[in-house]
Symmetry: C3
Subunit: 159 residues, 3 copies
């Protein structure tokens, strides 16, 4: 019962990546008072960062969505660690913060970040419906196409 | 007594817009442990987005302030929904996050976001004095001139 | 005992600046439920803002790190005020939000923000290890090279 989210992810054909170490002197997540803060995640796959470049130049909205989806998979991988392996402890995805590497005339940030929002809603159902902001950046770490951080509410580990 | 903020807004001549549905697959706000996270709001008026373009190019600081003020009205409209219609349940505006669509040489982001900060302080008095960040973006959703999200502390609904 | 962090800062040769008033109509920090939200801090020194310009153009990664470190000193100065002068009330640095004023081809935002992360870890030890995001902005207030905001968990003031 406690791993119902794992079953749901299996149904969706989702496999979370190994949580990646942070790119610098910080930690992938912190926890306080039932809140989890997940550090900004980039579109890191098994072969390194898979999406480098800007929406509106190298990449379309649809490609940006795929980059956002990969960021979200990394976000959930970190969140699972924060929950000691049990994502059914997640009470609510409170907020997703989406940063899109974009050209100055790009306008479709919400559609790009939907690549992450849709995944999270698919995995968690009502608990996955979140507040969010989506904004444009003229540059992101390692030329990543998208970066996504998040704040979640979780239950304490049961005894 | 419980709707003192509505009286204050009437004195200020403020009418909140109808809370707008989110632009994508997420929700306008989430609530956990007395915290409310309001999604990023753009300068949406009755005729659609009323401010499109960049501060430092199409728009002056003063025009940016008007765009920020309109974002803040939309923020308060969502917050009122989160409070079941009773803004007097707001304990504190904890943080406002201000994103200004700007040219690379623009420097007056704090003045622009004051358009939102002043409104919130006018409405809530001491409870409206908030922490904030104000930064520049090379692009924002739908070419909006400003986007503003926020975190508030509220009381639970009384029985 | 209660001022152990002050002793640690003296060992590190760190002197916090006077907390600066906000650049606009808001407050340097808010507190609710054990969380402190610190407003965005710019690289303000005794002679005003000491770093103006973009990483990738006027400044190298190493110079950006110095700017980030100065932002972090200002962040800690505000945090000390929030703790009524006693930084040993800090339970955890939950998240650092780093904004780097950068050219469109800049890629080393994590290294720049390390200038802040390293300082905070030095001062607080394990309690200073934080989640974070680091992103690029095409412009920042007053042409600041870096802006950093943060969220901390603190203990209530003891009686």
């Amino acid at each position: 019962m406690s791993h119902s989210i794992d079953i749901r992810m299996k149904e969706l054909g989702l496999i979370l990546p190994s949580p990646s170490p942070p790119a610098a002197n910080y930690t992938p997540y912190t926890i306080a008072g039932g809140l989890v803060f997940i550090s900004g995640q980039v579109p890191l796959g098994t072969k390194g960062i898979e999406w480098r470049g800007k929406c509106g130049a190298e990449f379309t909205v649809e490609q940006g969505q795929q980059a956002a989806r990969l960021c979200a998979l990394n976000l959930l991988a970190q969140l699972r660690e924060a929950c000691d392996g049990d994502l059914s402890r997640v009470v609510r995805c409170l907020r997703i913060e989406g940063f899109v590497n974009a050209t100055p005339d790009f306008k479709d940030h919400p559609a790009v970040i939907n690549g992450a929002s849709d995944l999270i809603a698919d995995v968690f159902g009502e608990k996955g419906v979140h507040a969010r902001f989506a904004v444009g950046c003229n540059s992101l770490p390692f030329d990543s196409t998208v970066e996504i951080s998040g704040i979640f509410a979780i239950l304490s580990a049961s005894a």
